[in-house]
Symmetry: C2
Amino acid sequence: MIQIAEDIDLVMQQAQEAFLAYRKCSASDKAAFLKAIVAQIEALGDTLIQTAMEESNLPLARLTGERGRTTGQLLAFAKLLEAGDWVQASIDTGDPDRKPVAKPDLRKMMQPVGPVVVFGASNFPLAFSTAGGDTASALAAGCSVVVKSHPGHPRTSLLVAGAINKAIAQSNVPEHVFQHVADHSIQAGQSLILHPVTKAAAFTGSYTGGKALFDLANQREEPIPFFAEMGSINPVVVLPEVLQTKKDLPATLASSIMLGVGQFCTNPGLILVLEESGLDEFLDGLSTTILAGSGGKMLHTGIASSYKTRKKEALSQDGITTLATVVSVQEDDITGTPAIATVSASDFIDNSVLKEEVFGPYSLIVKCKSKEELSAVITSLKGQLTATLFGTEQELGNYTDIAELLIQRCGRLIYNGVPTGVEVCKSMQHGGPFPSTTDSRFTSVGTDAIYRFVRPVSYQDCPDAFLPVELRNENTLSIMRVINGIWTNNSIKIR
Amino acid sequence: MIQIAEDIDLVMQQAQEAFLAYRKCSASDKAAFLKAIVAQIEALGDTLIQTAMEESNLPLARLTGERGRTTGQLLAFAKLLEAGDWVQASIDTGDPDRKPVAKPDLRKMMQPVGPVVVFGASNFPLAFSTAGGDTASALAAGCSVVVKSHPGHPRTSLLVAGAINKAIAQSNVPEHVFQHVADHSIQAGQSLILHPVTKAAAFTGSYTGGKALFDLANQREEPIPFFAEMGSINPVVVLPEVLQTKKDLPATLASSIMLGVGQFCTNPGLILVLEESGLDEFLDGLSTTILAGSGGKMLHTGIASSYKTRKKEALSQDGITTLATVVSVQEDDITGTPAIATVSASDFIDNSVLKEEVFGPYSLIVKCKSKEELSAVITSLKGQLTATLFGTEQELGNYTDIAELLIQRCGRLIYNGVPTGVEVCKSMQHGGPFPSTTDSRFTSVGTDAIYRFVRPVSYQDCPDAFLPVELRNENTLSIMRVINGIWTNNSIKIR
């Protein structure tokens, strides 16, 4: 039995009180709060970027871009709250004259679940950490948030937490609507998940860490949703004709493999090809670009060490041929260097080690003798965040069954583009079948991420004055609602 | 380690093949199939009702009504499929000229998760069993379904399964899109949950049974969603003024307690009152109606025996005063007789036994000395399917904080009406915080029940011809879609 630490208990009690108060804040109060966080993050200026660079080894341009993504996400949720439609309001009006029994008036909308715990990601010290997508979507949903700061970037996390606290002081929201826990012990994380007032949690990281916390969340007296993004090898299928028509494909793919020293969740770790003409040229092209890469500093020595170990293990499997590998000039403990290898479909299918993520600039090319073998390879894969299909229009038409197999194993299917780069918008799905995430029914990127932290509540025969504003007869917010099965932003006329 | 039975393995392999084929069926094929099931159920005529009566002890009128509800649900899902909007299509069009990187075209919609296992409910041999709400919503979602027949009504289940099989033969859907497992062993149920192709399951029944299967579903190598509805005591708050104005309230509430021999999941098992004038008259009225009730045959002897045991246990707790109890004329092992009791708020709050469901015509009245005590009682409750508030317009205004506390513990809040009677419509929420259900984010009643069996899939830069019809530029189905953040049923003009 894990004991809940005393300080964590205090934090969660405060989170519960803040949640109850935050429920009473209007959507515009919440939107203004998210905008105030943006202003405070921007006010941190170079200090934030410099600190994040020191802690993560990520370059200036990347972190500047990531800051823009972070503030962009917060603003997107502010806009969502201002528009108001996201609550999925639905109304079925009553009919007292219905036989044999009167029909009640029912009105339903999404409401926040309660206090949410967020575990930041090491590979996104800004966009998926303290004020990242999880925090932004939970605050937008109306939940109070407790962030456990990531040990990989504690100072960056503290700076952002300070910015959020300043925004709280300026806004019409309760003091403890956001809290920052700097305790990096395993027990602190466990306590946060186990505390009875915690109603959901979000995590981005390793399978081992994510799965352990997922199990803990399910073993509670009251199980809670635990959203973990845990890794994916993101299969890329390259069809034969496109090898001829898209001469820049090897360079494009190799760049995607090496982007950010391969430390993206959507890194293309698996490339599936058919043994047809043009393949050798494609592999040569890949090798050339990979060999021109020098690698780079990884996020921290733990990740660099793990990459070396996992890469070595993968490259030593039966049937593996190393196609290109870069040897580091300086043999330090932080640099990650790119490597690619090939394997036959049959050797791949039977080897579970080859289906695990090698987090870093690494990819494995699986050579398939036929479409049937390609199908068998795909069928042998676990759930993925993304899958990609490169092909000419003509051959995409001949491979719709392959697309169908891919769709059943991923959250997002990409045509003729690299999987790295996750657009932040409503139509993004960043969440795939297990083990890429613990719950493929939700996304952690884009505005639909808000739905992780809400549940529907129905009001039956509730007098108009006591309904939430979104469900009243008069549609003062002009939101889209489903009224008696019809989409409309009209008000309900009282007879 | 639980072994998967051989016959179950065959069933699930067939379910997987059928799922892949069913994915290719159009929405209108699926809708026609659901309508064909309705026709075949109706064609069973009196035989079905008579068989269900024999197996469940439920009366003719109730089962006739329940058949109407069953076919009504199937038709509602057919209508949903014909309308098409339910897929939540969302499109963000691309912008190749965006700097610093081109914006991809992203299109997202709901897709079926895969084969679904359904465990029927004993208290709804038609509407929540073989062709009930779980089966109807899973088939509408595009999933294949395997029903484990309920041991309480095996012949009823077999009749309905036969009707569905006839509908399959008449429809453009794969043979094994629905399968019926008549094996009532615990191992069969476990095998169905543990089989790797099973992607979700739905259950209605006891906490013990539901929780055991929920744990099994989460302990799989690939955990799957397990939707269990497991019991609820459905607190009813009666405010003081309404005691004066609503003189039929005692009779109305007592009737709700005794409806269907108390065998409804929304049975009002807990009534919270304030010790103010009018209370004695209210309790007298309740007692009078309860004592006029004779009870009735319960679903089966197991439920009747469990009711007797649980009622006895509840009535023997410290501080409990039996207010009215009916003694059965014939001391048989199937009749359930009504009983109500009272307890003080303080005795209630500290006693976990009193917070458990007593499945049958039983209710406990908790007397609170003040609004603060009432709040404390509500705060001590676990998650509920419903909560109810009886009050005059005036006092509802004074008790909005009580409504707020109730909302946080339930899926549906009812004003001035009994909790029994679950309207089948989009705005219904039948699913509350744990342990009333395992996942409060979904409903098992109403058309939104379909969302239990789908997940969103995004297509990035997919050529129009290869998109599902719901996501193509031309909106041939005229469904509502969110295009670049705007709700519309327009097509997308190609520039």
